[in-house]
């Protein structure tokens, strides 16, 4: 059952490839089927697992083909499959090969979110890299070669770091938490190795997310990928690193995580501010969105690293929200690029609201969600993150607050430069077509629904948060001390 979730998209991708790239529609179709299956499992999250021995590794460790569906996994799987289907439909006009790579990417990400074995996790992790690279090289814009080179340089570097960490954990006999996420004994890892292994894992996750200063690949990649691919990579692949923190780094090396936390928090908060400022100055709408992602994901990293329950919950809600509005915004910008037949240079545009009210409505809705307008999906997670971050340190919360104000500034700049002012020459364009509207409608609807009633998301993820809370039981004392300072500071 769980296997189908990732195998359906992967099989469809293979089928498209074998059928000489005809039948591209198979991709979104299979993703949708898997999505329906995942939704059918909504109430059974936390109780499903698959485990078959795969092969024996070194030190008597058993590598198994093991999948499990925790609430957190389910959220991310649903998100991935939904976006794979939508981006697949949006990508149909690029041809069969494009849809095949895209669907493979979605299937690999799904597998990764389900994996309950370190080696299996790593296999899916690497499997994501290949389609992303070929989407970039095969279908990217004019600067795709340079962008692909950067993408590979960073991501393979990150993979190697992750591999070292994973191999060490396997060698020390640490296994991945099962579905119920019971307590895991990290006793197998020698004390001296805890921090180096945690660092290796953190680097791997930080590159993928990406977190400053390892973000160098992201702007070019998001700018050069075709819009549907950028939407999927920006929305889903970016969650791999964050998921890795939650599913591997924190539960398997709680001690290492505690030692690493200040560094991750520092890098995360720098990301949040650095990304927001870069987004404020960027010209290309894609780069605005790319830096905006760096900022958002940086803040989520900070939230996770504080290990506060509220911040963890908020970070998970924000992962979901970020995926929805980021995908929607990349798709929207892509639709605008189609009309302009070139990149969206925000400073050379204006007045689109006059000609394309539907487009304007979509951009305002998703942009407002991105800047965290209460009532839309970007807010509940942000609020909980701020609550948790505040408990950790009041000053950190103030810095995060500055990032939120900057988010309003750069998002409004994007919205206003594109939509408002006098219509520029060439702005007379057609509004979103029916197909385009239907493509965006599910995302817009979810963004509004989650904003109004976010509770189902923390309900699904509460298991993961509770498990982490249990593992890092020593943490609340430190947190209380931090909040004391905050209250009196």
């Amino acid at each position: 059952m769980l296997t189908l979730l990732w195998a359906l998209p992967v099989a469809a991708a293979l089928a498209i490839a074998v059928s000489a790239r005809r039948g591209a529609w198979l991709g979104p179709l299979a993703s949708t089927a898997a999505l329906v299956l995942a939704l059918a499992l909504w109430s059974r999250a936390g109780s499903l697992s698959v485990a078959t021995p795969w092969f024996h590794g070194a030190y008597g460790s058993l590598i198994s083909y093991s999948l499990g569906l925790s609430g957190l996994s389910l959220l991310l799987v649903v998100l991935t499959l939904l976006l794979t289907a939508l981006c697949g439909v949006a990508g149909l006009r690029y041809g069969g090969a494009f849809v095949a790579w895209l669907t493979l990417l979605g299937g690999a990400a799904t597998g990764m979110f389900l994996a309950r074995d370190l080696v299996l996790f790593y296999v899916f992790w690497e499997l994501m890299l290949i389609p992303a690279y070929f989407l970039l090289v095969g279908f990217g814009g004019a600067g795709r070669r340079a962008a692909a080179w950067k993408f590979l340089l960073y991501n393979i570097g990150g993979s190697v770091a992750l591999l070292v960490g994973v191999a060490a954990l396997v060698a020390f006999g640490v296994t991945m938490p099962g579905v119920g996420v019971g307590p895991i004994s990290a006793a197998g890892v020698p004390a001296a190795a805890v921090v180096p292994v945690a660092v290796a894992l953190a680097i791997g996750f930080a590159v993928k997310t990406p977190i400053w200063p390892l973000h160098g690949w992201v702007a070019d990649t998001y700018a050069e990928l075709p819009a549907p691919a950028a939407a999927l990579v920006g929305a889903v692949q970016s969650k791999a690193g964050l998921y890795g923190m939650l599913a591997i780094l924190i539960p398997m090396l709680p001690g290492g995580m505690t030692r690493l936390a200040p560094w991750l928090i520092a890098a995360g908060i720098v990301s949040a501010l650095y990304g927001a400022l870069c987004a404020l100055g960027a010209r290309d709408a894609r780069r605005v969105l790319a830096y905006s992602s760096v900022s958002h994901l940086g803040l989520i990293t900070v939230a996770f690293a504080t290990l506060e329950p509220a911040a963890l919950t908020g970070g998970i809600v924000q992962m979901v929200a970020h995926a929805l509005f980021t995908a929607g915004l990349f798709l929207l910008v892509g639709m605008l690029e189609d009309r302009l037949a070139g990149p969206v240079d925000v400073r050379a545009l204006g007045g689109f609201a006059r000609w394309a009210p539907g487009f304007a409505g979509g951009l305002i809705l998703l942009g407002m969600a991105a800047l965290g307008l209460p009532g839309l999906a970007g807010f509940p997670g942000e609020l909980l993150m701020m609550v948790g971050i505040y408990r950790y340190s009041a000053w950190l919360a103030v810095l995060a607050g500055i990032a939120l104000v900057l988010a309003a500034a750069y998002m409004l700049r994007l919205i206003q430069l594109v939509l408002h002012g006098e219509p520029q020459s060439g702005a007379a364009t057609r509004d979103l077509g029916g197909g385009e509207k239907w493509l965006l409608a599910p995302l817009a609807l979810l963004v509004v629904l989650i904003g109004i009633w976010p509770h189902p998301i923390p309900q699904q993820s509460s298991g993961a948060v509770a498990a982490i809370e249990q593992l890092t039981g020593a943490q609340p004392a430190a947190a209380a001390a931090g909040s004391n300072q905050g209250g009196n500071g």
Binding site: A167, L277, G361, P374, V387, A397
Partner: protein
């Protein structure tokens, strides 16, 4: 019900393409129904007891809470989804929907010149605003309040920038949004502090007996919460130091200015501070900061009003000033007085804006009083309406504003903060002066403009103006009832002082401007006038200290770091890798794919080694 009707109206208007008449009917009708259901809620005891006027101590008693479920939960923190009704809420609900309905009717005529699509967009935004404002005052927890709080900010943004092809409107909209976001972050931090120290963020928990006890035990916590809440209130209510957006917000259509930037949204800060009395009661320091800054705003904005030429901006400064009174009053504990000033101010300030709207329609959207004058005979309704509003604003008894403004000042006189009282007294002197200066320059003397005067007012423009004019004259009764309901007595001594101040201000304006001669206004033209009109150079400070540096840093990061340093580091790494590759193997060919292949192979080998060893 009250809440859902405007929301439904907004949805219908934004998603369906309707004929113009239906758009107007849905827009205004949904607000009327909301008002009626609000009346029903109040009279049928949707709140405990016969609210809003009779119940003594309505603010301290718990209201009726309707819990609908859990909005969000994390760890031990639970945020409910529910509504809260008590006397304070009831007053605001009736003002929002009542004055809101009149302004919607006025808008039917005022916006008649817009295209069908823009007409629908206008009423959709206005309805959404009313819905958000109602959520703000009906929410039962701070996060839900924040949803409404930001919702009104967002719709205000949409409506300030309604004419989005005008650069000034676009800039004004952005400025308003960003300053309001600063306030939102203040509220978020306040919520975070409550969650961290009190463990709860709903009204029952924070403001109820348990919360009050916790706050009293930790005055520092109360002070920080109070200050952070004031940051939010200052942004929304255009108080120092976050006031700079309101005067620019006058770029929006005039009914918008009347509803959002005079009658309702800018009083949200007053609601917040009145609602959180428990916090300010526990922290005199926070109360003093909020109250003194409110009083300072009341005075400073009044001085700018004295020098203004743009009649809408003048009213905006007047709004800042009057909201300063309210904030100062509620912060220093004169809650009934502050809230009753919200009510009367909603009447007379909406009226003043409507009168100005009639004037602007007649003189082709001119806003500069130097090009007006002599309009009394051509625009009798605007003239009498403006006069009624001016008398109420000036605090001349027995008009509406007197009863509430004096109550605030009386409250301060007894509340003991003489600094704030002195500032408010000075503002009370300036208020009649600037508003009658505007009255005489606009309606007295001879017409100084170039274009023709075209008086045209449809019935939808006329009768809301008349209704509000009546309320501006007799609306003081509501203020007095409300104060006596909440147990505040009238103070004859303070009333005498206020009356004298108002008459002196009016007399000064009369002696200078009664002929409506613009030459009498020459003294405002100098360097001093220019400096005051620029809000004492605040805009330059704001731009120089924050906006330009932020953009400068952004450009520097993109240029020096993203453009040069990072790529250089990457090239160095790449060169190192290439050299390594050259040394080690013959694969090196400069093709990215070869690098990729070799790296994949390397990674795979490492993996195998780790597994099999």
């Amino acid at each position: 019900m009250t809440l859902l009707l405007p929301l439904a109206g907004a949805l219908i208007l934004s998603l369906l393409r309707l004929p113009r008449r239906v758009q107007g009917l849905v827009g205004a009708g949904s607000i009327l129904l909301a008002f009626l259901s609000g009346l029903l809620m109040v009279s049928s005891g949707g709140g405990p007891g016969p609210y809003p006027f009779a119940a003594h101590g309505a603010l301290s008693q718990p209201g009726v809470e309707v819990q609908l479920g859990t909005w969000l939960a994390a760890g031990t923190l639970r945020i409910p989804l529910g509504l809260w009704v008590d006397g304070l809420t009831a007053v605001f609900v009736l003002v929002i929907t009542g004055v809101g309905f009149l302004i919607h009717v006025y808008s039917l005529g005022y916006m008649a010149g817009e295209s069908d699509a823009d007409y629908g967009r206008y009423f959709a935004s206005m309805n959404l605003f009313v819905a958000a404002m109602l959520l703000l005052v009906l929410a039962d927890s701070f996060p839900l309040l924040l949803v409404g709080w930001a919702g009104v900010g967002f719709t205000s943004y949409l409506l300030i920038g309604f004419w989005y092809t005008r650069p000034a409107a676009v800039v004004a909209a952005r400025k308003a949004f960003i300053l309001n976001t600063v306030g939102d972050v203040g509220l978020i931090l306040a919520i975070a502090l409550m969650a961290a120290r009190l463990g709860t963020v709903d009204f029952t928990g924070v403001l109820g007996p348990a919360g009050a006890a916790a706050l009293a035990a930790h005055p520092a916590v109360a002070t920080w919460i109070g200050l952070l809440l004031f940051v939010a209130a200052a942004a929304k209510s255009a108080q120092l130091p976050l006031q700079a957006w309101l005067s620019d917000a006058m770029e929006g259509p005039t009914p918008v200015s009347a509803l959002i930037h005079a009658a309702t949204m800018v009083t949200a800060g007053v609601y917040l501070i009145a609602r959180t009395q428990a916090v300010y009661a526990a922290s005199p320091a926070a109360a003093a900061w909020a109250g003194d800054l409110g009083a300072l705003t009341a005075f400073a904005a009044a001085t700018v009003g004295v020098f203004s030429y743009d009649i809408k901006r003048l009213l905006a400064y007047s709004t800042m000033s009057q909201v300063g009174y309210m904030i100062s009053g509620v912060a220093f504990g004169a809650v009934a007085a502050g809230v009753s000033h919200v009510v009367t101010h909603a009447f007379f300030k909406a009226l003043l804006f409507m009168a100005v709207g009639l004037v602007m329609h007649a003189v082709s959207d001119e806003r500069d009083m130097r090009r007006m004058g002599g309009l009394a005979r051509r625009l009798p309704l605007a003239r009498w309406g403006f006069l009624a509003g001016a008398l109420a604003l000036a605090g001349i008894p027995p008009f509406a504003g007197f009863w509430s403004k004096d109550a605030v000042m009386g409250g301060l006189l007894h509340g003991g903060d003489l600094f704030a009282y002195a500032l408010l007294a000075l503002a009370a002197l300036l208020t009649p002066f600037y508003i009658f200066r505007a009255y005489y320059l606009t309606f007295g003397g001879k017409y100084r403009g170039e274009g023709e005067v075209h008086p045209h007012a449809s019935r939808s423009l006329q009768w809301p103006t008349v209704v509000l004019a009546v309320l501006a004259v007799v609306g003081g009764i509501f203020a007095v009832l409300l104060q006596s309901g909440w147990g505040t007595a009238l103070d004859p001594g303070s009333m005498a002082i206020s009356t004298v101040l108002a008459l002196i201000g009016w007399g000064a304006a009369w002696s200078i401007y009664r002929g409506g001669d613009i030459r009498a206004d020459a003294w405002t033209a100098g360097a001093l006038g220019a400096a005051v009109r620029s809000e004492y150079g605040w805009e330059g400070l704001w731009q120089g200290a924050l906006v330009r540096p932020a953009h400068g840093v952004a450009a520097w990061l993109l240029g020096a770091w993203e453009g040069r340093a990072w790529p250089a580091a990457q090239s160095a790494t790449a060169a190192g890798a290439a050299a390594l590759g050259h040394g080690l193997s013959l694969w090196q060919s400069g093709l990215v794919r070869r690098y990729a292949l070799s790296m994949f192979c390397g990674a795979a080998l490492l993996l195998l080694w780790a597994l099999v060893r």
